[in-house]
């Protein structure tokens, strides 16, 4: 039998948070922080940034508790907040990349990847992470939510405020894009 705390639904906890129950908020954070953090690590490729945005996500959950609609879709709602924050962070990174003197963009002479060196090092997983990071943010978000977070297409549609066909299209394009990017890097699984 599940512990009592585990049997309290997210919707009930959110109702309690909206009423000002700190304990409910604490339980909700502890229940979901690992999944939010894992999602953000996959989205951002940075543990440190993921930690910060995990905090930001829950601060927003608290701020929006009063507007939450108890329809049994808390996970999608939560990951929508986290996803919006992640995409916003990725947009900011893109702007920063255009600033001059950004040494991080010049790690390798020539700027591009060296497929031979990568393959020789045998680190296909590293390449995989890099090509995932290179996907357009919405494609990456949809793929991560499905493949790593286990959300159904319907849940993803709710988490991304879009339609089922749009989710299918995003994931299809992400998969095709990954294949091309991997091939470019000399990886053909």
């Amino acid at each position: 039998m599940l512990p009592v705390a585990a049997r309290i639904s997210d919707d009930s906890l959110m109702a309690a948070v909206a009423r000002g129950e700190e304990a409910a908020f604490g339980l909700l954070v502890r229940r979901w922080e690992h999944q939010v953090r894992a999602f953000l690590v996959h989205m951002l490729g940075s543990v440190e940034e993921a930690e910060d945005l995990t905090q930001d996500t829950f601060v927003k959950v608290f701020a929006k508790a009063g507007s939450y609609r108890p329809e049994g879709m808390f996970r999608s709602w939560l990951l929508r907040i986290a996803g919006n924050l992640a995409r916003s962070r990725l947009r900011r990174r893109k702007i920063i990349r255009w600033l001059p003197f950004d040494a991080r963009r010049h790690d390798r002479p020539g700027g591009g990847p060296d497929p031979h060196a990568e393959l020789e090092s045998g680190e296909i997983k590293v390449v995989l992470h890099q090509v995932l990071d290179a996907l357009p943010p919405r494609q990456r978000q949809a793929l991560v939510l499905h493949r790593f977070q286990g959300l159904t297409y319907k849940e993803i549609a709710a988490a991304m405020d879009t339609t089922l066909p749009a989710v299918e299209s995003l994931i299809q394009r992400a998969l095709a894009d990954l294949r091309v990017k991997l091939k470019t890097r000399g990886v053909e699984p």
Partner: protein, 152 residues
């Protein structure tokens, strides 16, 4: 049937209806081009399974989140939180949470110091293992466990 390359991800994801799945499967039996594409995409799909789950963090974000929400409450009345007001009135965290706008990752040592001073935070509900006591407390206090349905 036209080519099915636009449905392969949904096919791999198990997101098609039974009828759609059968249609795609039948097409793949007869269309060499789509089958080659399917095999290539299935290989990438499988490769994604090798992506490791991030290591779980040793520390919970909860202490920092709590401080930040209390700090935010000081300048924002929504939602009305008795506990935030009480904590602020007690002067527990003002010095720690302001003017920086709340603790971030890396500030957990200071968060811990605040917790040491906050007898309320030391109550059993902060511990995962004793969440039952907390939940039982709510239930006794009249929180309807089934309220709102759904959830995780």
């Amino acid at each position: 049937m036209s080519h099915v390359t636009s449905r392969l991800a949904a096919y791999l994801a198990g997101e098609l209806t039974a009828q759609q799945r059968d249609e795609v499967a039948r097409h793949l039996e007869t269309c060499e081009a789509c089958r080659r594409e399917y095999e290539a995409q299935a290989a990438v799909w499988g490769l994604l399974e090798t992506v490791a789950e991030p290591e779980p963090s040793a520390a919970s974000v909860w202490p920092a989140v709590r401080l930040r929400t209390i700090a935010a409450e000081n300048g924002n009345a929504r939602p009305a939180l008795g506990w935030a007001a009480a904590a602020l009135a007690a002067g527990i965290i003002l010095g720690m949470a302001w003017p920086g706008g709340g603790a971030r990752t890396g500030d957990l040592a200071s968060v811990g110091a605040v917790e040491d001073e906050d007898s309320w935070l030391q109550s059993s509900w902060l511990q995962r293992d004793t969440g039952d006591d907390l939940a039982a407390g709510w239930l006794l206090a009249g929180l309807d466990e089934n309220e709102g349905g759904g959830g995780s």
